[in-house]
Structure formats: C-alpha cells, structure tokens
C-alpha cells in the first residue's frame, strides 16, 4: 500500500481542528502567531484553507495575513517530510564545519536545502542557530539535538532514524 502523505492525512482531518484552535483563542489579543503555530503543529504546514478561516474569523485581510505568515521563517505553506532535519549554521557551527555536514546530508538524501525527499520522509532545512554551540557542529531532527558531529556521524544518525521508521 502506498505511504499516506501529509496531504491525504490533512484531507482526513479536514478543517475541524483549525476551527477548534481558532475558537479556543476567541476574544483574546496577541494570539495570532500562537494560533498559526498550533495550526502548523496539527497539519505540518499552513494549508491555504485554514488561512482563509483564520483571516475570516480574526477579521484580518487575507493579504495582511499572508504578509505575516511569510515574514516568519517558522511558517510553511507547503507540506514537509515526516522528519525535519535542521542543520545549524550558527557561528560556532560555521567555524567547525556546518557546511560540510549539510553537504554530506545533501549527498545522502539527494535533496537540496529546503527540499523534501520523494518518499516524504525527510525535509532538510538550514537554521540560524540552535543555541547548542558547545556541541558544534550540531543538527536538530524533530525536537532532538545531535551534537559534535562529523559528516559520517550525521549520516549515521539519519540512517538510524530512517531504519527505525521502517521497523516501527
């Protein structure tokens, strides 16, 4: 059976969850970013339909909302892979070889920065700094940080995650 991608999962959930999140914050100020973050947590990205509901319910012109969404690097308008690999490109990681970690992953997964593998398993991202500078160079996969990497170690970590995912 083919893998169920994020788009299909999203269709299943429809827009119910998004409406629920918006309702939770009804009447409150200073929560727009939080609402968008929660929606992205559920769907993995910000589907166009959910943004339309946010614009309507929060009385924000759609163009303004689009401006806000695209301003912040956290928000994504297209689906991501199951695991997000964030390669830290902070100062400490830069001087200890972050570029080579990226190169190794690019070579291994055959995708460029910002792209997702064809099997929707991994998305590769470049981030400014993970704040784990004493472990440089480091990467974050989902919410876990892997530090003191070499090109080889980074590849091993990813291989293990791919392997675990297949098994489990």
């Amino acid at each position: 059976m083919p893998e169920i991608g994020f788009c299909n999962k999203f269709m299943e959930m429809s827009l119910f969850k998004a409406r629920e999140i918006i309702k939770k914050y009804q009447g409150k100020e200073g929560v727009l970013i939080t609402i968008l973050q929660e929606i992205q947590d559920v769907y993995g990205f910000l589907p166009k339909d959910t943004l339309e509901i946010v614009a309507q319910e929060r009385s924000i012109p759609p163009a303004t909302l689009f401006g806000i969404v695209t301003f912040y690097s956290q928000f994504k308008l297209s689906p991501c892979g199951e695991h997000i690999i964030k390669v830290c490109h902070g100062t400490a990681c830069h001087v200890t070889g972050a570029e080579r970690i990226t190169e190794a992953i690019v070579g291994m997964l055959n995708i460029k920065e910002g792209e997702t593998t064809s099997d929707s398993k991994f998305t590769l991202e470049k981030v400014a700094c993970l704040g784990c500078c004493s472990l440089a160079p480091c990467i974050m996969i989902d919410d876990k940080v892997y530090g003191k990497l070499t090109a080889d170690k980074a590849k091993r970590v990813i291989k293990r995650i791919a392997h675990d995912a297949e098994k489990g």
Binding site: Q74, H94, R100
Partner: protein, 594 residues
C-alpha cells in the same frame, strides 16, 4: 559508609543532546535495583557543556561531579560511593569537580562569580520548592512587604545594572520612565528571543532556573505598576518553553502569580509567546509588533516603549539575563552586586563560550576581567594547540577582537572601543584556520537574510556588501572593493532605523580594521591564508606520506580521488569540490591544502 543523599544529572538541551537522558535512566534503574533511597534529580546547566553528560553525587553534604558519563559507568560510580575501593580507581578519572578535591578543571570555576546562574545546575528547574529553599521568592516578599515602587527603582539604579541584551541601557532609569508614565494599564516583557548565532545564555538560564526570571519580572511589575507580562521565547528552544510553562503554573499555584499576590492588592500574570523565527524580533519595537500578531518590523523611537509600547500602553522590556539579576540585587542589596565590575559596568556578565575553545560552555564572570582571562583561564585556551586569532563578540551586531587586543577588559565601554559590542554574551573563539573574510561574509549573509526590508540601506546595502564579500572569497575581488565596503558600511549604519541595520556592518568593519592584509591577500594574490575559501585552495596528496590505503577514495563524494590499492593516490583538481572529507578521513596526514 555514609549514605549517598542525592544524585543530579545535568539535563539542559546540551546535556540531553550529549546523552544525559540515557544516563539518568541508567541511574534510575541502578538505584532501584539496589533498593537505594537516593534522591535522583534532573538539573540545569552548570556550565561545563564540554564535559556533558555531567553527574553530581552528593554524599555527607559534599558534591563530586563526574564528566562525560556513559550509562555503563553509572554502576561503578554508585559502587565507588558505597565504598568499593577498586571502583574508586575506575571512576576517579571522570571526576571534574569536587568540594574536597582539586582537579585541573577547577580553573574553569576559579574566576567565575555566579549571580545570574546562582541556581543553574543545582536545583531542579521543575521543582518550585527547590527554588524557594534557595531564597527563591524572598525578594518579591521583601518588595511587597517592605518597599515602595520608588525604593525598588532606587535600589536597581544604585546597583548600576545595565541591560544585558546588548545595548546596556541602565535598567533603573528605564523602569523609572515606565513607572512615571500615567496610564492605568502597563506591561512587562521579557525578551528571550536569543537570535544571535553563537549565543545560548538565555536558553540555559530559562532551562536551568526559570523561576528567577519570573521573580525578576514580578519585581519589575511591582516597581512600574504593571499587571500583565509576556515572555517572548524562540520556538527553537522547546525545552525552555516547557520548563517556563511549568514554572508559571507552579508559581500560580503557590500564589506568587495571579490575582492578589501574597494577599495584597498587587496582581500580575505572565503569558508565553513563542517566537516564529525572525532575528529582527530581538529588537524591542519589532518584538512588540510580533506579540501584537503583526509582521515583526521595528518602528521609529520615540515614543519609547516606556511611554507607548504594547498596544500603545507603557511597557518595560528587559532581557532574560537582566531579569534573573533582579531578585539577587533586591535580596542582598545593591552593594552585593556592584562590588563586582568597574566604572560604569557593574556586576557580572554571562558568556557562552564556543568555537575553537577547549572548554566550551556557559560562564559568568565579573565585569572588568580581561578577554585573555575568559578565553585562556576559564576557557582553557584554544583547541588542538592552534594559535588564537580572534574572539567574536556580540554576534552579527558585534565584531572580531584580534590577538593584539586580548587584554581588553570586559566592560561596555572598552569593548565598544574595539569596534565590537558587548552584545548579549555570545563569544565565539576563532583560531588560525578561520578565514576572517569568510567570517565577515557569514555574518553579512545572516543579517542580509534577516533584514526586515523596511530601510533601503539595510535591505539593499547589505545585499550589495554580501555580493562583494562573496566575490572576494571566490577569488574575484577587485581593487577598491575594501573601500566600497567601508563606504557602504557607514551608509548602512547611518541610514537604518533599528539596531539590526545600524550594527550589521560591524563584523565587516572590524575584520577590515584588524585583518586588512587578509582581505588584500584574497583580492590581490587570490589566496586564502587560512585555507578556507574553496575557490582559492587546492587539495593534493603528499607522495611521501600516502600509503595507498584508499580511505580518501571511499569518502570522496565526487570521485575525484584515483589510485590503485597500496599505491599512491592522486586528486583530480578539476573534479575536486574541496569538501575536505578526504583530509578528515586520512590517518597519515597525507592530504595537503594550499
């Protein structure tokens, strides 16, 4: 044999990444198996990130700290403390610190003074009772019970505390402005949007001692008359957010937050906002726009936030480290704080030491100490016997301080004189293998990417500067490039509205100032003295050293290495992508870079 009272495992992000959770679980198993009633607790960062995972064993009121602990070692540590002599010998070499033992790591702590980090690595950040047992929430009790708004502000002014976020504005004066604003509604904001690459002080403080920040905000709220507060934390710090949420919940339960605090009329509540990844939101007006749910773009000041901040109400913003200092100053008096430091820079400063340094970690030193002391005494010097080249302070807004100025004292004015800034505390150490032109290009690509686009000079000027720098690192530099960079830098500085633009050229200006010859070498001779810029270097194999083992051939991603087994290999310069994987893989130091 006396009983082991407590075992602590450092479980900040860095400890967890180094395998702290596995060690914690092994300890849990082991104590359960042996039916030992030992208090096992997770604590924040003690600062020695370089030897994570760390385990403290407390016996007879004395602590022994073990570094680089693997789960396998856990049973040995416990047995050693239970009296098994042969195990003592096994675990001895892992001891990095002890109340009764001198180790070679002691120099890491000797020059440090812990005020902000007073509880980090000692208390369980998720346990409010532990914070209270170390005089936590006593300062707010003192404030509410004995002091007036004016008196609190006077104490902060007298302490000489200046904003630790980078700009160094006197905190007491800022508070007084907000207090004087006549408005029914006021806000307190904690800026935890630690976006500087190379900085992790705020993450460590929030993860290790969230209550100290909450208590500081409470005191600030009392002093200016605010009833609501926001903590703006980067979304990249999930653990800090989790621990903060828990801390807020607990302090509400204990009556320190919420309505009628400690039975008085004073009410204050805190909300957490997770930043969505925009460096410019570290600027106070941009941060407030972001909380309001807008694009995080800075606006002109005045009006300052103290007059018109969040939703137009008077607002006082300080960063995490500033807030964490407050309870200490109130409780122990201004003189306990300003006994450290010199001239107009009082107290301590937290730095995150990283880069090519032996002891990378979190340190808190008294102001006035020299950079040499921080890097060589506390930080243990440069990794791998390489030569020190520069220390980068203040992230993308700061600059590189060269070896000739390494005796500069750490205080706001002296650091500014070098062309760098104190900044929030990121200190990245660079050795002779770091190319300064590449470093300047790196920071500029960051600020160019993060520029919000409002001011033309910042938006377009940084892009043009980046193009020039990229060209230089690619060996296409032209005569006059340095002068153009200097001219553009001055224009961006004077033509930008906010701190991001005004300081963005600093890394370029300081590297030109101190490493001009390196720029000229790139431009005129098309050489990178540090062998870093790929277009300017070639890889080759030393025929005397090559054994023909073939490791380089295996790791080369582009198939540039050729050679028969046990015969000398060669690198095809045309195909070579200069990634350096072969150099890492070679066991015989046979790969040359020129």
């Amino acid at each position: 044999m006396s009983k082991i009272e407590e075992i602590r495992v450092g479980l900040n992000s860095c400890g967890i990444a180094a395998g702290g959770n596995e060690v914690y679980n092994a300890l849990k198993e082991e104590t359960k198996k042996r039916k030992l009633s030992i208090r096992l607790k997770s604590v924040g960062c003690i600062g020695m990130c370089y030897s994570e995972p760390l385990v403290d064993v407390i016996q007879d009121g004395k602590a022994v700290t073990y570094g680089m602990v693997k789960p396998k070692l856990v049973a040995d540590i416990i047995e050693a403390h239970l009296g098994k002599r042969e195990k003592k010998e096994t675990v001895e070499k892992f001891i990095v610190k002890g109340d009764d033992i001198r180790t070679k790591e002691d120099s890491f702590f000797d020059k440090q003074v812990k005020i902000v980090l007073r509880n980090c690595g000692i208390i369980d950040p998720d346990d409010i009772d532990e914070y209270i047992s170390r005089d936590g929430y006593k300062a707010i009790e003192k404030v509410i019970g004995e002091l007036t708004q004016e008196k609190v502000i006077e104490m902060i002014q007298e302490s000489g505390l200046r904003g630790r976020g980078g700009a160094g504005f006197p905190t007491g004066i800022k508070w007084d402005l907000a207090r004087a604003s006549k408005d029914g509604k006021k806000f307190i904001v904690c800026n935890g949007d630690e976006g500087d690459p190379g900085a992790f002080m705020d993450r460590s403080t929030l993860e290790g001692d969230p209550h100290s920040v909450i208590e500081g905000m409470l005191i600030g709220a009392f002093a200016i008359g605010a009833c609501e507060g926001y903590i703006y934390v980067r979304a990249e710090y999930p653990l800090a957010v989790k621990r903060l949420r828990n801390a807020i919940k607990k302090s509400k339960k204990y009556g320190f937050l919420g309505k009628n605090i400690l039975g008085t009329k004073f009410s204050f509540d805190i909300n957490i906002i997770e930043g969505a990844g925009a460096f410019v939101c570290g600027e106070e007006t941009a941060l407030m726009a972001s909380i309001e749910g807008k694009r995080g773009m800075p606006r002109t000041r005045p009006p300052y936030p103290a007059v018109s901040g969040l939703w137009g109400y008077p607002t006082n913003i300080n960063n995490v480290e500033t807030w964490a200092n407050i309870p200490f100053i109130i409780l122990h008096g201004p003189s306990s704080f300003n006994q450290y430091g010199k001239d107009r820079s009082k107290g301590t400063k937290v730095f995150s030491l990283a880069g090519k340094i032996v002891r990378g970690g979190l340190v808190e030193v008294p102001m006035g100490i020299t950079l040499r002391e921080v890097i060589f005494d506390v930080g243990g010097g440069i990794l791998g016997d390489k030569k020190f080249k520069a220390a980068q302070l203040g992230g993308p807004s700061g600059g590189c301080i060269p070896e000739s100025l390494i005796d500069t004292p750490v205080d706001y004015e002296s650091i500014t004189k070098t062309g760098a800034i104190m900044g929030s505390g990121g200190m990245v150490v660079m050795d002779e293998e770091t190319c300064m032109v590449d470093v300047a290009r790196f920071f500029l690509s960051f600020t160019q990417d993060e520029s919000c686009g409002k001011c033309t000079f910042c938006r377009v000027g940084s892009k043009r500067m980046l193009e020039i720098l990229t060209r230089i690192t690619e060996g296409k530099g032209k005569e006059g490039d340095i002068e153009t960079l200097e001219k553009l830098s001055q224009e961006i500085k004077s033509g930008s509205l906010c701190g991001l633009g005004q300081t963005a050229p600093n890394p370029v200006l300081t590297t030109i100032r101190y490493f001009r010859d390196e720029y000229e070498e790139h431009i005129k001779n098309k050489k990178c003295p540090a062998h870093k810029c790929r277009s300017l270097i070639t890889y080759s194999i030393d025929s005397d050293k090559c054994t023909g083992c073939g490791r380089c051939k295996i790791v080369c991603p582009v198939g540039a290495v050729t050679g028969e087994p046990k015969k000398m290999h060669t690198i095809d310069s045309e195909k070579c992508s200069r990634c350096g994987f072969c150099r890492d893989a070679c066991n015989f130091d046979a790969i040359k870079v020129e």
